[in-house]
Amino acid sequence: MESLSVFIGGRAGDGIDQASLLIGKLLNQFGYYIYIYRDYPSLIRGGHTFSIVRAAQARIGAHRQTVDVLLALNQDCLDKHKDKRHSRTIVVYDSDVVKSDGLGIPLTSMVKEAGGPEIMRNTAMLGALAKVLGLPWEKFEAIARANLKKETELNIALARKGYSAADIFYKIEAQNKPPLPILTGNEALALGLSAAGLDAYVAYPMTPSSTILHFLAEHADELKLKVIHPESEIAVIMMALGFAYAGRRAAVGTSGGGFCLMTEGLSFAGMAELPVVIVLGQRPGPSTGLPTYSSQTELLFALWSGQGEFSRLIVAPGDAEEAYYWSGVALRLAWKYQLPAIILTDKNVAEGTYNFDPKEIKQLPEESLDLWSGSGEYLRYQETASGVSPLAFPGEPGRVVKINSYEHEENGTTTEDRPLTKKMQEKRLRKGIALIKEIEGLEAVKVYGRKEAKTAVVCWGSGKHLCVEATEKLDVRVVMPLVLSPLPLVQLRRALEGTHQIIIVEDNATAQLAQLLKLGGIKVDAVILTYDGRPETVEQLEEKIARGVR
């Protein structure tokens, strides 16, 4: 099969999340690329939640209009998702609670008979799915055993029942590719930071960034990381800056509301030249908004937040693989240039699940801190051509390390002197110039699709896979900047060379990337905007783009 989509839905608390990951792992064994989209409301039990697991031969990160298998644990899966069925979609449902055509299995009674908790309906459902997909039982059992660590025997028994009750509808064939690690954007991001030398992760929970905290807390011991969850986001950013001062690399993670509370610390990082990485996971706002859905509304806020003017790095990965690599870049460059770096994710990337081959990840830029030589008086803010002052940390003899939120002398003491103010402001902004050069040396803009096409679709973050797939049949190139500040204009212009039309696709209502490009002198011809929290399907976007292409 070229590709396969499996939908699984139920109420929050039905274990949809775990089940969909297991489906992903199953399909992963056959050498497919996997993408799982999770749609869940802001509550713990009840409501309606679903996942779509997609397997394909190419890298993916979007979902299509219809699914091939629809696993229904409740009636909503049918009533709310009629449009997800094509003529041959197999519906598998719990016939005890759902009315439908297709393959009904009495999951509730099965589980009750076996004496299992209701949540085990999904194991029985997975067994049924295995059969539907034509998997040999042994293959399925092996994977299920490896992943169902609690009550394994009961689970396996229930899966077996589901398997027996179902029929074969599809035939999965193994691709010529080994199974790959399968992980969320947030997990990849966490590992990327770790690989780049993170010492501490400090965070207050907030969707869609909480799972970074959970993941790193879980693995803190193995990774030898300090993971701290303090009283508020203000404490978070200040602690992280304390880490930086002491020479330890810290990252923090939050969403818009928490980021607001960090902006004073962000500005402080700019003035004090303390490196810090901030993961800003976007979700629809304003304010509390839709906590568990996705948006791309914080680009301009991230760019100009914090009083005063200072350089910052903003990267926006488009899938797990990019999250891994670019979070590493962000950490390395934050330290090299002693400035704050923001990793702008959106819920779709943060909580989307992907697989990728770690061996294919690009090498991180070299660790290249400009460390103090140790001779003479240490000047924390020494003037240099690049604006970057040699680093030293407190704790060792022969140096006094003073950082300051006021304007300051080279040695870090407060000043209100007029020429010095100007000089220091220029020193700090000079780092931004150096950073642009650095960024232009990386692959900061990617081009997909027909590279010679006259129409370019420009997108960012989770828009990438969606646009790439939506334009497969169109005479369009897809341009995706991975760095949004400083904007890699040389690469962008190169990527756009020869286009007659630029169409922007983003998940917001005010076309923020379009505005940024405009500031960079790039003329935008049209924008395609969505702002209802959900990703479009490939087909929906394809139609809009096709209509727009001149």
Binding site: P179, A195, K226, F243, F393, V400
Partner: protein, 277 residues
Amino acid sequence: MNEGQTPILWCPGCGNFAVLNVMREVLTELQAEGVPLEQVVLAAGIGQHAKIVDYLKVNSFYALHGRAVAAAEGIKLANPRLKVIVFVGDGDSYGEGLEHLIFAAKRNIDLTVVVHNNRVYALTTGQYTPTSPLGYKGRSTPEGTHEHPLNPLELLLAAGATYLARGYNAKTEQLKLLLKEAILHPGFALIDLLQVCVTFYNQYDHYNQRGYELTGHNHADYNEALSKIKEWDYNSDARIALGKFYQVERPTFDSFFRGDNKVDREPVIKKLFERMV
């Protein structure tokens, strides 16, 4: 330890001068007693109090109004060998940043917090703070406040602080002892330092009359500490105890984060990737 070049920008007669001088002595003595000066980090908020870090040639972290304590926690967790001393104001840390103080006490993280409690926002020209007395007339409350002051020591005792004392800038010998003791205390230590602001709230006469040295006090006893702490509520005309109210030992938060991250991450991450297949 003085920068020398940096002019000192407090009003003549300001209680902060004494704090600065005492702090110099304390650091000199600690150094003589084996605390390397380079392992000392001074953190500060924003306000008149905070200028002290400009006047001491010691590692320093001149933070934000209200946020020095949280930053200091990060410094300590990053490198638990550092001795972190935090100079904050009453507006700064009993007001804007009170929450950080309470949580630092709750965690019993090994910090020394010195609150220059002049009971006004001095740097912003004398508005009332959480410890100004009821009816205090400042520029934001020209008719007098309608709020009782907080008793910060009572609050911090409730929050879990393991060292609590009150100092007075005019009692420099005692202040020196308290500072040293607090710095050497393994855990969260706070000194509520009555630092007189001669310009906006000159309480020298009052403190000189009412202040008395705490003696024969069992500072390991919570109830005794509380009753002494409650003797003066920052409002009444009661006697003002100066000295150590409370000291006990509890495991510190930072002690769970010792050890630096020295592991080769590559194989660990590789293993994690494998588990994710």
